[in-house]
């Protein structure tokens, strides 16, 4: 194959990737014939609220995540690491309804629950802080590892270290982490619905209301576009993400604050605070006899694994067609429209057999999480290989040689970790699965139907296998880093 056909194949693939990602928009553009602009009331107040809510959520998540990071460093024994990571990830996996109820039960004995912005922000902080703490640990190890040792030997105080060394060196990364959490909270759906009380705190909620109550898809799509554009703007202003390829074994432990070390259990504790022996026994006693449990486990595993693999293949494909400035810019700023719009767009496509619907679920989740995970985790890895790829290209390397011998061995850790996160999220998905293929039996949908038939406790029990399964999926991808990228 000559270089020219290479580049045209790659150009086509690039176009295909971008088209696939924006396909929900394209489908709606083709479907909607009459457009109407949203009124200022429909648009402005949810948008402004969402901005404030997401900024606060992201800011406080970063703060809390940093504290959790310091607390986690208080645990010195290396064998506690995997447990810490699981503990920090757990809140991210618990379905929103249980997060909300957990949060509620904190207040009940004393006061009316303060529905509103504060509650939503609090819940977002609770579920995202652990993830941020994990990111902080990686960043500090990779960016500050050596400096920390030097500063330690010089006897620098912790405060001075963060102020004069840590912050200046990490500022860019912290901004990009901010954008990541901001995007998640900006587009968050269920928690704002449950906890916001009187306000509409995200455009997602406004969008769902428009669709469900008035069937105004045109306005909904326009609102979704506003959301995407806003994030695109932020993404262009803020630096790209950085996720180090491997945990560097540096002594960052001395940054830990041993006095805080039990704080790592706080988010999990809050979320599970409603749990009691009573719940477990009630859950078991009222367990409906004929639940399709095995089927649900298999389907959930299938969706998780399939979505993870779709991400992995997507990342490999990107590695094959990048570097390309335009596509890179697009990927760094693009955000898929909200779940209802993406889900319904896929429903408009032909194919309603169960297999195709399962596949549509995986695609829908991928469309939404792929750009986010790419930007946060994979982008910097591919970026750092740009020169090497160019060098190999000049030598006449085939693109598969570049992919398998240069890109994959060096970027696999990031690609697999991002795919693992996708697998973990998708296994816990309620919303998109409910829209695209609600007749499927997955663990989250089973929980939902249990809740709707009064069996809250049984649903809570189902959380245990769901969490185990999600963590297994994550472990499978992250664990295979060692095997695959040797």
């Amino acid at each position: 194959m000559t270089g020219t056909t290479f580049s045209s194949t790659r150009a086509l693939l690039r176009l295909a990737i971008a088209t696939t990602l924006v396909s929900p928009y394209l489908i709606w553009l083709a479907k909607i014939s009459a457009w109407q602009w949203p009124t200022l009331v429909e648009w402005a107040s949810p948008f402004a609220n969402a901005l404030v809510q997401a900024s606060l959520s992201a800011f406080l998540s970063l703060g809390m995540g940093f504290v959790l990071f310091l607390a986690a460093q208080g645990w010195r024994a290396p064998r506690t690491r995997p447990f810490l990571e699981i503990l920090l990830l757990l809140p991210n996996l618990v379905p929103p309804l249980f997060v909300a109820l957990g949060l509620l039960s904190l207040f009940t004995p004393w006061m009316r629950f303060p529905y509103g912005m504060g509650a939503v922000v609090g819940a977002h902080v609770l579920i995202n802080a652990g993830l941020v703490a994990i990111a902080f640990e990686r960043l500090v190890q990779a960016r500050l590892g050596g400096v920390i040792e030097a500063a330690w030997l010089l006897g620098t105080s912790r405060w001075r270290f963060w102020q004069q060394i840590g912050w200046p060196l990490l500022r860019q990364d912290v901004l990009s982490l901010f954008l990541f959490v901001f995007s998640i909270c900006f587009t968050s759906f269920t928690l704002p619905l449950l906890l916001a009380g009187e306000q509409t705190l995200t455009l997602e909620v406004a969008i769902l209301d428009l669709i469900r109550l008035q069937g105004r898809w045109d306005v909904a799509v326009i609102l979704a576009t506003t959301q995407t554009l806003a994030l695109l703007l932020f993404a262009l202003l803020l630096p790209g993400g950085f996720w180090p390829s491997r945990a560097v074994d540096r002594t960052v432990g001395f940054l830990g604050v041993a006095g805080l070390k039990w704080l790592v259990v706080l988010p999990t504790l809050i979320i599970f605070s409603g749990w009691s022996v009573g719940i477990v026994t009630t859950g078991i006693r009222h367990w409906p006899g004929d639940l399709p449990l095995l089927e649900s486990v298999l389907t959930t595993l299938g969706i998780g694994l399939g979505t993870g693999l779709l991400h992995l293949m997507g990342f490999l494909l990107l590695a094959y067609v990048l570097p390309h400035a335009g596509l890179n810019r697009f990927l760094n700023g693009y955000l898929a429209p909200s779940p209802v719009i993406t889900g319904f767009a896929l429903l408009l496509l032909p194919g309603e057999s169960e297999e195709i619907q399962l596949f549509k679920v995986m695609v829908a989740i991928t469309l939404i999480s792929f750009p986010l995970l790419y930007r946060w985790i994979v982008h910097s890895a591919l970026l750092s290989l740009r020169q090497q790829i160019q060098t190999a290209y000049l030598m006449g390397s085939s693109f598969s040689q570049i992919l398998f011998e240069i890109v994959w061995p060096q970027a696999a850790p990031q690609m697999l970790r991002a795919s693992g996160l996708a697998a973990l999220w998708s296994a816990g998905d309620f919303g998109l699965t409910g829209i695209v293929a609600g007749q499927l039996n997955t663990l989250p949908l089973l929980m939902e139907s249990l809740i709707n038939s009064y069996r809250l406790e049984s649903a809570q029990l189902l959380l245990v296998p769901l969490l185990l399964l999600s963590l297994c999926l994550y472990g499978l991808f992250v664990g295979s880093i060692r095997y695959v990228s040797r």
Partner: protein, 212 residues
């Protein structure tokens, strides 16, 4: 002689303008000039890393400018070397051979020669990110020439080395180049490089060739 024509490109506030330039198709030609003179840009334009629609570069009867960069079959040593850090020195070198579909067996004799000439025995099985500056520079050269390129580009190849290593490195490079007889363009700002290696030198200033 190979003939370069219409090597011209406009950048904001800077332009490369070389209507006609004859580069020797044997031996080492040096392209010398102060920083900012356009050396690296000329190098990137010739290699094809940046587009230059007007360019023609007739080399032994063939217009290289019509070919895609890999098809030009050029050997390149970047200033930053760009070794693949996760591979050993040997894997780096053989990577280039495989890129040209040459089997490890067929390049073995050539590899042995290069290893000897460039004194790579000791570091051949070491990971690239663990090589010393001098070793990395020699591995990069071996990688650039293993697949018998028709033309070799060396972009400031010695700039990262200290004085003593530079002398040694120039010696090794000369030895290899004498044996391989690959026409080479050496981009440098160091007159010592020219004295030690080049048969001809061209000066570039403000994007224009001043003379030989």
């Amino acid at each position: 002689m190979s003939v370069v024509k219409n090597l011209q490109r406009e950048y904001s506030g800077f332009s490369i303008d070389i209507p006609h330039w004859e580069i020797a198709d044997t031996g080492i030609t040096a392209l010398i000039g102060p920083s900012g003179a356009g050396k690296t840009t000329v190098f990137r334009l010739l290699i094809g890393l940046e587009p230059c629609p007007s360019l023609s570069w007739i080399f032994k009867g063939e217009d290289l400018a019509l070919l895609s960069p890999p098809e030009r079959r050029l050997g390149v040593v970047f200033q930053s070397l760009e070794l693949f850090p996760h591979m050993t020195a040997k894997q780096n070198i053989l990577f280039a051979a495989r890129a040209r579909n040459m089997s490890a067996a067929s390049v073995e004799p050539r590899l042995q020669e290069l290893v000897q000439d460039l004194r790579l025995e000791a570091c051949l099985l070491r990971q690239a990110h663990l090589l010393s500056g001098g070793e990395a520079q020699r591995v990069a050269l071996a990688r650039a020439v293993i697949a018998q390129p028709r033309f070799l580009f060396l972009d400031e190849p010695f700039s990262a080395l200290d004085t003593k290593l530079k002398v040694e490195a120039r010696d090794l490079v000369r030895r290899v180049m004498d044996r391989l007889q690959i026409p080479t363009l050496l981009i440098t700002h160091d007159p010592d490089d020219i004295r030690a290696l080049a048969q001809a030198a061209v000066e570039i200033h403000n994007g224009k060739i001043l003379g030989t």
